[in-house]
Symmetry: C2
Subunit: 877 residues, 2 copies
C-alpha cells in the first residue's frame, strides 16, 4: 500500500494543513462541523512533490486515486461528469500550506463540454447561463492550463458585441454565448492544433497538473522568496463541486472578515455581489455592497452567515476571512482562514481576544508577525492618496517606511535644501560613508545600484529612514542634475515618493501619515512580549541620536557601536588622515591625540543615553584606505590641506590598495600593526565611562570593549594586553573602582572553530554574522548580487543569506562557537550584532542556540523583542 | 618540591633532549659513555620557559639550583670561581632541542676577573695567554650580554697595534694584553656607567640570562620560522668547564664528521686548527687543515679521536658531527650530534646504514628530511654550456647544485632584487645569521672566507641552496659594489654562475639542465618510501610537460588540472574573450565551440602522459575579468580586433569589476550562470577520454571532473546535472562503455561544514586548502603580506599558513569534512590539491586525517612521497 494522496473533505481536519494545504484543511474542518460546504476532495501536497519527483508527471497510482474519489463525489452529489442530463461541474483550486494569495490560478465550471452544457442548460432551465459558464470555462482552461493569451478571448467577445451593436456582456443572449463557444473552440484548435478537450476527466487531470505546475511559476517563486516559504512544501489541489452565485438575483457571492482587518474593530466586515461568481468580487469589476446590506437583501441568509462566522471565530479563536456563495437563496461556505490584517489590527485583535478570554497572553504574542511592527514605527502613505498615485518604477524594499520629497543628487545639496526647510529624497548611484550627513537629513534614499545590504540599505535601516535601493532602470545624469525613469525625466527639485516597504517609486508627491506606535495597545502587547522572552535585545548605535531611539524602542543596551562612523564627521576626518599618512609611531600618536577627545565625547553621549545599561564599543574595523579620497581632485585638495605633495598622497593611497579589502588589513589587524590606535580608543572609552560614572554614582558603569575580526587567540591577547594596560592605568589614576570587559567579534570562521581557545581571553562573544556569512560562503556581499539571481532562479538558495541567517552552514559555526566558548568560560555572554539580529527567523535561531542577546538597528528593536518572545514561547529552554 | 631545573652532565642522557637541548643531552650521553668531556651542567629548557613566564627574570629557586651545581662543579674540578690561585673558568653555550647553528651566542672564559686572571696566569705559567683570555672574555661578554658594539673593541686593538707598530695580534705581548684589559674595562664603564662585573657568579647569571634572551632575538625568530621550530620550546644553557685549544702548539681544536656530509662517503671528514679556539674554525678566519693531517701532527690524539668517532656513530647509529679540543695534547669532546648533510649524502648514508645492518628500512626512510630531496631535483649545468664556460676561480664545494644569477653583495639587496623577479648570487666575505633571509632567496651563495663548516656552508646545505665558500682570491669592495677575481671586475648586476658540487666559479651565465635524481641510491631509497606510505601522491599539472615531469618523479595521477591555464595560450584567449563579451547564450556557445577542440587536445595530451592513471580536471575557476585587458591601449587593441567599440569593451570590463574578486563570481558560480561553459568542458573531457581509451584499450580511462568553489550541495547538483547529461549523451553515442566521476573541491568553509550533504552528490573531495585557508582566516593571500610581518613579530603566527596547513583551524574543517563525507559515502575518495600537498608537515596531517592522496607540483612529488612514508611510519593507521 502506498501513500494516501487524495482526501475527501469529510476525511480531513484543520490539523492536516501540511498535507491538505490551508484551504483544504479548513474546508474539511467546516465540513465536519456540519457547515454548508459544497463537497469535494483534496489532492495532497505530497502528490505535488511526487509530481516533481516523477519529472512533472502525475503517476498512475495518484491518477487512479483521483478517479476513485471523483466517482465517490459523483455518487454523493447524484450527478455525473459529462452527463447529458445532470452533469457534475467542479472548481479546481490550489491551496498551499501557507496562504499565497493571487499566486495560484483557479479553474471554474470544469466538467462542461458540448454534451454536458446541454444537460446543464436543461437542468438549470437557463441555456444562456449554461453557455456563458461553458465559454468562461474554455477561457479559463485555455489561459491557466494551456497558456493561451487571455487577450484574444476578450477580443473575440468585443468583436461579437460590435457586430451586434451592443455594449455590455449582459446584452449578449444564449445564442451569442453559443456562438462564443464555437469561436473560442476554433481559436483553441488553431493555436493548439487539437480540439478543446471534451473528456471531463482529461480536463480534470490537466487542471490538476496546471495547479502543480503553477507552484513553480516565476510569480510563485518570487512570492515564496519574499515570504520565506520553502519550495519543497508543494501545493495541494482542491476539487469541489460548483455552486453558482451567478445563477440569478437570488444568488450572490461575497467575502467577509469577522473583525475589521484594518483596525481590528470587532464587527463583521466585508462585501458581496448579487448574481456574481467569486472571482467578480476579487476582480473588482462591479462595486460590491457592504456585508451589512445583506441583512436587508436576504435576512435569513445573513442571519445564518453571522451565526457561522461567530462559530468559526470561536472555533479557530482568531479573526476569520471567509468566502461564501449563495445559490438560489442557499448559503455555501467556500473558504475560511485566519484573516490577514494590518499591524494595528493585529495588535488590537490579539489584545481583545485575551480580554474576551479566547486566548492567553502567550498565544496573543504569537499572533502578531514581528515584521509587521515595522509599519507602526515608520511613516506610511495615506491610503487614499496612494490609490491615486502611479508607480513609475520598482527597486528593492531596502528600509521600510514611506517618504515624499524633492529630488536632490548629492549629500551637500540634501543638507542645503534641508536647511532651507525642504523635504528631500536623495537619489544616488550608490552611497558611501561621505554621504552620511546628507542621508541623515533626507526623507528617503533612492539608489540605482546595491542590494539589501548595500551601504545605503544598511545605513538607512540603522537610521530608520526609508530607502529603495538597486533600481537599475534609473539613469542618473549627475552633471545635468536629473534622472530618467519609465521614459520621463525628473529634475532636481521635482517631487517623488518612495515606499521602502514595497520598493515602489512614485513620480509625484504622495501624502504620508506619521507613525504613532504608542497609541493603542502597543505598550500592553509589547509588555507581554518582554515578559515571555529570554533573549535580551540590544541596539546597534553609533551616535547618541540612534542610542536614544533604540532606548525608546526598548533596547536594553548597545550591542554594537561602530567607532569608525565617528571618524568621518567634520574635522575628525582630517586628523584621521593625518594618522594614516604618518610613517612613524610618534606622528601617529599625535594625530590620534586629536581624535581622542571627539571619541570620548561620543562615548559619553552614548553612555548618557543608555542610562547605565551595557554599551559594547567595537574598535576600529575598516581598512584605512576607506578614509582616504579616491578622486584626483579630492586627492589634490587633501594633499594641499595636509601640506603634502600629491605624489606622497598618492603613494600612501597606492600602498594601502588591496585586492580583496574585505579580507585585508582591517579589524584587529590594524591594532596589531598600530597598537597606538587601540590605546587611543581605550583611553576614550575609559575616560568617558569614568566621567559618566562620576556624574551618575547610582549607575554601575562596566564599559565593554570589543575587538573585531579576531581569528586567533594570540592576536586577541595582543590587543587585549594593550587595552588592559591602558585601561588599568587610567582607572588606577582616577581613584574610581570600575570594572570593564574585553571581548571579541566572532566573524571569521577560524574564530568560531577555535572558540574554546579564544574564550580564554574573551569575556564575551558577539557574532558578527555579516562577515561570518561572507567568509563561510566565500562570497562578498558587494559582489554576490551579480550571481545570486542565478542562484534564486535555480533554487539553489531560496533566500538571501545576508537577510536570514544560514542555519545549515553559518549557523553550525555559531552553534559550535557558542558551545566551545561556554565550555572554556561558562559565564561568557554571547550575542549577535549582524544584520540578522533584527530578523525574526534568525532571532529564533539565536534563542535556540542559547545566546544571551541580539542587537539590531533601533527601528528593529521592537521586532526583535517580539521575535524573541515568540522564539521563547515556541522553544522553551 | 619544585621542578629540577639544572642537571649535571652525569645526570642526563640522550633521551632528555627536550629538557636539556640537543647539545646538553649528548654531552650527558658522552659523559656516561666514559668519553673525555669537560664537566659541567645544563640549565633546562623549562628554566628558559619559566624565565619568560616570570617576565624575563630568573627566579630565586632556579638561581639557587645553578649555584648549588656550580659548587659541585668546583668540587669536581678542584677549582673555584674567582680563585686567585686556581680559578674555575667556564663556557656558557645555548643548546635548543633542535640544532640552531649560529643562532645562539656563546661566551668563553667566564670566571675571569682582575684577581682570577692572575691565578690563571700563575697556573698556566703564561700571563700573555691569561690576559688574552681575559680580554677575549670582556669582549664577548660585552657584546653578547651587554650588547656593546664589537667594533669598538676591534678598533681599540687596532689602535694599540698601530701605536706599537705591529700588524698581527700575535705580536702583542702580555703587557699589551693587560693594557687591552684596562682599555676594554674603561670603555665598558664609560658605556654602561658601571664597572665590568668582577663577581663570577654575577657574570654567570648574566650570561645565562643572555642565552635565554637570545632565544627571542630577531635572527632566532627568523630561523625558527624557516625551520618550523616552535617558540615555546625554549633553549637550554650549558655551563662547561673550559679547555683551551689556544694554549700553545700542542693544543688545537676542530670539527669532524664520521662520514662525508656532502657525498655520504664512509670516511672521517673534517678540519682542525692548531692553537686556536673552537669559534676560530667556525668563523673561518684562518683556513684549517683537513682532519687526516692530524694523523701526522698528533698521531695518538688522532687514533683516540677515530676510536671515539666510531664508537659514537655505532652508538647513535647515524653519522656524527663532532667538536673537539686538544689541550696540551689531551683530547676533549665538546659536542656530538647527528650531522647535517646534503640530500645525496643523506640518501647514501641511509642506504649504507641499512646495508651495514645498523638500521632497518623504515628507520632509513625516517633519516632523510623530505625537503632536502629538493636539491637532488634542482637543475645542474648543461654539460655543453659548461664546456664553453670559463672557470674564473675556485672555492670549496660547500653545498651542491648549480646556480646562475646576478651578483649582489648584501642580504637586503638579494631580497630586493629577488622581489623584482631577478635571480641573484649573494657574494659575501663571509655570512652571518643576519644574512639568512638574503640567503634564502638567492640562487647561490659565494663567500671569500670560511670552510666546509662555516656559517655559509652549513646554512646553505640546510636550505639545499648551492654554495661555494672560502674562495680567498676574490677581493670584495662592498662600497663600490664590485669584486675582482682573476684580474677582472664584476659589478653588482653582472651575471656569474657557481657550482656547489665542484667549487667552480664562472664569470658568465651558464645554462642549466634539470636534475637526474634517478642516479645513485635515490631509486632504491624511494622504493622503500613507496613501500611504507599509505597516501598516494598525485601531481598538479596543467599541461603535458608538467604531467610528464610529475610522472617521472613518481606521481600516481593528476590531482589538479587547472583548465583556465589553457585558456590563455595563443589564439584561445581570443575565443575566450568572445565568449565573455557575448550577451546571449547562442553567441556564448559559438565562442565556446571554438575553445573546445583546444581543451580536448590538452586533455588528450595529459591522459597520454599519465598512461591511464587518474586525472582530475577542475572546471573553470577564475573570475572572467582575469581574461580581459586592463590597460587602455590593450583595451583598444582588443576592441578593434573583436570589432567592438572601445566603449562597449569598457562596459563589459566595468560590469565585471568586483570589490573582492576572491569572493566573487568565480568557480562553480560561473557554471551556474553559464551552464554552457560546463557543457563545453565536459564535452572536451569526455571526448578526450574516449579517444585515448580507443587508442589504448588496455588502459581503463575513468575521467574525473572536479567542480570548484562549491558551498552548497544544490549548486553542485545543478552543475553535476549539466555534466552528467552531456557526458552520458557523448558516451552513449560513442559505443564505448566508460565510467566517469564528478567530485568537488572543498575550499569554502560552508562546503566543509555541510560535507555530509555535499557527499550525496560528490564522488570525491579534493581539499583546496589555499582558498580554504583564505576564507577560514578571512585574509587574502594577495593582501596578507602587508600585515603578516607584524604577526610574525608579535609571534601571533609562527609560520605562513599558506605554506604549512593550519591544523588548529583549517585542519579542523578538513577533518570534519573528511568525517562527514565518509559518513554519507563510505567509498568517497579524499585528496588535497592546495600548495600544502607538497609540504611535509601538512602531508603528515593528511595522512593522520585519513585522506587517500595528496597532490602537489611535479618537483615536490618526491618530497611528498617521502613525507607520506614518514607519516605512515610515525603514525600507523
Amino acid at each position: 500500500m502506498g501513500k494516501k494522496y487524495v482526501y475527501k473533505f469529510s476525511e480531513g481536519n484543520r490539523d492536516m494543513r501540511e498535507l491538505l494545504g490551508g484551504k483544504g484543511a479548513n474546508l474539511a474542518e467546516m465540513t465536519n462541523a456540519g457547515m454548508p460546504v459544497p463537497q469535494g476532495f483534496t489532492v495532497t501536497t505530497e502528490a505535488c512533490t511526487q509530481y516533481y519527483t516523477d519529472g512533472r508527471k502525475i503517476n498512475a497510482e495518484i491518477e487512479a486515486e483521483i478517479m476513485k474519489n471523483l466517482g465517490e463525489l459523483e455518487a454523493l452529489m447524484g450527478k455525473k461528469f459529462g452527463d447529458p442530463e445532470n452533469p457534475l461541474l467542479v472548481s479546481v483550486r490550489s491551496g498551499a500550506r501557507a496562504s499565497m494569495p493571487g499566486m495560484m490560478d483557479t479553474i471554474l465550471n470544469l466538467g462542461l463540454n458540448d454534451v454536458a452544457v446541454e444537460g446543464f442548460a436543461k437542468k438549470t432551465g437557463n441555456p444562456r447561463f449554461a453557455y456563458d459558464s461553458y465559454r468562461r470555462f474554455i477561457q479559463m482552461f485555455s489561459d491557466v492550463v494551456m497558456e493561451l493569451s487571455k487577450k484574444r478571448f476578450e477580443e473575440i467577445i468585443d468583436e461579437l458585441k460590435e457586430k451586434k451593436g451592443v455594449k455590455q456582456d449582459v446584452e449578449l443572449d444564449a445564442e451569442d454565448m453559443k456562438q462564443l463557444v464555437v469561436l473560442f473552440k476554433d481559436f483553441y484548435k488553431k493555436e493548439k492544433g487539437e480540439d478543446f478537450p471534451q473528456d471531463p476527466k482529461v480536463q480534470l487531470m490537466e487542471a490538476v497538473k496546471a495547479v502543480f505546475r503553477s507552484w513553480d511559476n516565476p510569480r510563485a517563486n518570487v512570492y515564496r522568496r519574499m515570504n520565506e516559504i520553502p519550495y519543497d512544501w508543494g501545493t495541494a489541489v482542491n476539487v469541489q463541486s460548483m455552486v453558482f452565485g451567478n445563477s440569478g438575483d437570488n444568488s450572490g457571492t461575497g467575502v467577509a472578515f469577522t473583525r475589521n482587518p484594518a483596525t481590528g474593530e470587532k464587527a463583521l466586515f466585508g462585501e458581496y455581489l448579487i448574481n456574481a461568481q467569486g472571482e467578480d468580487v476579487v476582480a473588482g469589476v462591479r462595486t460590491p455592497s457592504p456585508i451589512s446590506k445583506l441583512q436587508e437583501d436576504m435576512p435569513h441568509v445573513y442571519e445564518q452567515f453571522v451565526e457561522i462566522a461567530t462559530k468559526l471565530e470561536n472555533h479557530y479563536k482568531d479573526m476569520q476571512d471567509m468566502e461564501f456563495t449563495i445559490e438560489d437563496g442557499k448559503l455555501y461556505m467556500l473558504q475560511t482562514r485566519n484573516g490577514k490584517r494590518t499591524a494595528a489590527a493585529a495588535l488590537k485583535i490579539a489584545v481583545d481576544l485575551v480580554d474576551e478570554g479566547m486566548i492567553d497572553e502567550k498565544e496573543a504574542v504569537l499572533r502578531v508577525e514581528p515584521k509587521q511592527l515595522d509599519s507602526l514605527l515608520h511613516p506610511q502613505f495615506d491610503a487614499a492618496a496612494l490609490k491615486k498615485a502611479e508607480v513609475i518604477g520598482k527597486g528593492l524594499a531596502a528600509s521600510p517606511g514611506a517618504a515624499c520629497g524633492k529630488v536632490v543628487f548629492t549629500a551637500e545639496e540634501a543638507k542645503e535644501w534641508h536647511e532651507k526647510g525642504e523635504k528631500v529624497i536623495l537619489v544616488r548611484l550608490e552611497t558611501s560613508p561621505e554621504d552620511i550627513e546628507g542621508m541623515q537629513v533626507a526623507q528617503g534614499i533612492l539608489t540605482v545600484r546595491g542590494g539589501m545590504t548595500s551601504h545605503a540599505a544598511v545605513v538607512a535601516r540603522g537610521m530608520g529612514t526609508c530607502c529603495v535601493s538597486g533600481c537599475g532602470e534609473i539613469v542618473v545624469d549627475y552633471a545635468k542634475k536629473c534622472f530618467t525613469l519609465a521614459g520621463k525625466t525628473y529634475n532636481e527639485g521635482d517631487w517623488i515618493s518612495i515606499d521602502g516597504s514595497t520598493g515602489n517609486i512614485y513620480g509625484e508627491a504622495v501624502a504620508t501619515v506619521p507613525a504613532d506606535p504608542s497609541s493603542g495597545p502597543f505598550g500592553r502587547f509589547m509588555a507581554w512580549a518582554d515578559k515571555y522572552r529570554q533573549l535580551k535585545v540590544y541596539t546597534n548605535a553609533d551616535n547618541p541620536r540612534d542610542a536614544k531611539q533604540g532606548y525608546e524602542f526598548g533596547a536594553q543596551g548597545i550591542g554594537l557601536c561602530r567607532t569608525e562612523h565617528m571618524f568621518f564627521e567634520g574635522d575628525r576626518i582630517k586628523a584621521v588622515r593625518e594618522m594614516i599618512v604618518s610613517d612613524n609611531v610618534d606622528d601617529r600618536k599625535k594625530a590620534l591625540a586629536k581624535i581622542m577627545p571627539y571619541q570620548q565625547g561620543d562615548f559619553e553621549g552614548l553612555y548618557e543615553e543608555m542610562k547605565g545599561q551595557p554599551v559594547v564599543i567595537r574598535f576600529l574595523d575598516p581598512p584605512l584606505h576607506e578614509f582616504l579620497p579616491t578622486k584626483e581632485e579630492d586627492i589634490k585638495e587633501i594633499a594641499d590641506e595636509m601640506g603634502l605633495t600629491v605624489e606622497k598622497m598618492k603613494n600612501v593611497i597606492d600602498s594601502l590598495h588591496e585586492f580583496n579589502p574585505m579580507m585585508g588589513h582591517r579589524g584587529c589587524r590594524l591594532a596589531v600593526s598600530y597598537p597606538e590606535i587601540a590605546e587611543m580608543q581605550t583611553t576614550a572609552v575609559i575616560n568617558a565611562a569614568i566621567n559618566v560614572q562620576k556624574k551618575h554614582p547610582d549607575w554601575t558603569m562596566v564599559p565593554e570593549i570589543m575587538i573585531p575580526l579576531v581569528g586567533e587567540v594570540k592576536e586577541l591577547k595582543f590587543v587585549k594586553d594593550v587595552v588592559v594596560q591602558t585601561a588599568d592605568a587610567i582607572i588606577a589614576a582616577s581613584g574610581i573602582d570600575m570594572k570593564y570587559e574585553v571581548g571579541t567579534m566572532i566573524e571569521i570562521p577560524r574564530a568560531a572553530l577555535t572558540a574554546d581557545e579564544i574564550a580564554k581571553e574573551a569575556q564575551f562573544f558577539s557574532f558578527g554574522t555579516n562577515d561570518l556569512t561572507q567568509m563561510t560562503f566565500g562570497f562578498s556581499r558587494d559582489d554576490a548580487g551579480k550571481f545570486l539571481s542565478y542562484y534564486y532562479d535555480q533554487k539553489i538558495y531560496e533566500s538571501d543569506p545576508f537577510a536570514h541567517l544560514d542555519q545549515t552552514g553559518v549557523g553550525k559555526l555559531v552553534e559550535m562557537a557558542a558551545k566551545l566558548g561556554k565550555a572554556t568560560r561558562p559565564e561568557i555572554h554571547l550575542g549577535i550584532c549582524g544584520e540578522h539580529g533584527g530578523d525574526p527567523t534568525s532571532v529564533e535561531f539565536c534563542h535556540k542556540v542559547g545566546l544571551n542577546y541580539v542587537s539590531c538597528s533601533p527601528f528593529r528593536v521592537p521586532i526583535a523583542r517580539l521575535a524573541a518572545a515568540q522564539a521563547a514561547i515556541k522553544n522553551p529552554r
